[in-house]
Symmetry: C2
Subunit: 312 residues, 2 copies
């Protein structure tokens, strides 16, 4: 198989599974899925599957589709909570259909995940636990914003759950589907986890430095995300407690994000985050040592570097 064929199979599963006879759910799900997105999680899963000897695209594609649908559902719900109006270069679901239908579309996509996972008894729990972690991470983030207690440690706890857990699951699931031994499963899980952390750090930096048209999603106003990184990294080197968001925000009563950006760009906070993302990519690539050489392995290595070197 080629990764291109595999990813096409994943798209086909997703488009088939969202084909509800309820027009709004079908339209809104198509809207968010057909906008594309990077598909980095299912790609990671399918490459891991192939790198460990898997050859049956049809048996792995539904699980990769389920992983991407978990992410997609969380994005739809995120945009409700953050009032995001642009996502994947298109108007967000909530901005077109309103909050009520966006909430239901997210529920629909989450529900389709366990319809897809139904037949995969032993793998079900892997994705379920990652999805719980994702929701917990989002909740920790919302709490940290509300209670104004972002520190670097809190920031890492948040991104480990809301992002790295699902990337880790993608690695574990790809390996398990290929029938790999525990050492290889653990290696791909570790790879996924570190790529996930790197992915989120880079995402947060881009959220602060790039503009909406470049990102294809609302930037800046994604305050919870931006604030977390800002507080975690603007406290760079000063204390393990980082810096309270309030300190960063209060300086400018006009546009808090502008103040955060100024502080970040003046210091070396962005450079430090980028260096940590690079470090995580190195660690991720190192975990792959136990895998035999293959095209798929090389593509996993490339994927790790793509994640940290991207500009959108």
């Amino acid at each position: 198989m080629t990764i291109h064929e595999a990813m096409q199979a994943v798209e086909n599963v997703m488009l088939k599974v969202i084909n509800s006879d309820v027009k709004t759910l079908r339209d809104a799900s198509h809207h968010i899925l057909e906008a594309g997105g990077k598909r980095v999680r299912p790609r990671l899963l399918m490459l891991g599957y192939e790198a460990l000897g898997g050859t049956d695209i049809e048996s792995a594609a539904p699980v990769a589709a389920a992983v991407e649908l978990v992410h997609t559902a969380s994005v739809v719900h995120d945009d409700i909570n953050d009032h995001g109006v642009v996502r994947r270069g298109r108007p967000s679901v909530n901005s077109i259909w309103g909050r009520t239908f966006a909430l239901l579309t997210g529920d629909f996509l989450f529900t389709k995940v366990y319809e897809l996972m139904g037949p995969y008894k032993d793998l079900n729990i892997v994705l379920a636990e990652a999805t719980v972690a994702l929701v917990e991470g989002e909740t920790l983030q919302a709490s940290a914003v509300k209670e104004n207690n972002f520190t670097r440690q809190v920031y890492y706890e948040i991104i480990a759950r809301k992002t790295a857990a699902l990337f880790r699951a993608a690695g574990v699931l790809g390996a398990r589907l290929a029938g790999a031994d525990e050492k290889a499963v653990e290696a791909l899980g570790q790879y996924g986890y570190n790529v996930g952390l790197a992915f989120q750090i880079v995402d947060d930096i881009l959220d602060l430095t790039a503009d909406t048209s470049q990102l294809g999603k609302t930037s800046g106003i994604d305050l919870a995300q931006g604030r977390g990184y800002a507080a975690a990294y603007a406290g760079n080197g000063q204390s393990s407690n980082g810096v309270a968001v309030a300190d960063v925000v209060e300086a400018d009563d006009g546009d808090p994000m502008k103040t955060i950006k100024k502080k970040l760009l003046k210091g070396d906070a962005v450079a430090e985050g980028q260096a940590q993302a690079q470090q995580l990519a190195h660690m991720a690539v190192a975990s792959l040592d136990v895998l035999p050489a293959s095209n798929a392995k090389q593509e996993l290595i490339d994927l790790a570097w793509m994640v940290v070197n991207r500009d959108h």
Copy 2:
């Protein structure tokens, strides 16, 4: 086993599974679960299980818990969309923790469902399909409100999906867990479906005629629900298209619900709905004919009548 022991086991599973280390999710989930609720869906499942010879409470309780958590998650999300402030006699999750945390709490509960269902490979799909139907039903309802096109047919399509599908699944799951044959599975599924329809019709009537303190949840403002029934039944006998909500609402620019209530109580719309619920209960009880006599069977019969004769 007694049904009391069985229901205690279901409670224990639910309380254990929501025990997240993320305080807000744990607190909000406890808040909504410990408020009680009627637990009619898991009760139906456990009684059906027992009526068909099941004796292992521990193997059936997690599935019954999953069914109740689907319902609970949908209730938490419903209250966001409907701005409900009272639920199960307590302030709703959104009214205490706000919309963002309520949305995440609902996601958390939905996700715990598939963690619970993980080991039940063949039964997974039954609950997944019912959950999809529930979300579709909620969406159809929101669409009907928005597009102002409630008819009696639309009303039935909505309540069949948003309520009867999950009741049906509870019946099917109880029978399957007991290892029953297809005839018995179908009988309990049919029983659940008709009890579910009756349950929702009675719920909608109570929503229009009872007050908040009696119901333990916000009444009246649950407009989507009230409107559906009103439009479906206020059109009683006149045409199969029912009556457009606008016709009912426009007559009083002060309080649209008051106008709907007046119209309903003046006509025989409430009496007609009650008669249909009774009819559905008769049909539900008739489906149980194929089951052998037992205490559990008698309790299923009582449950059907309790559902239609309740006043809250």
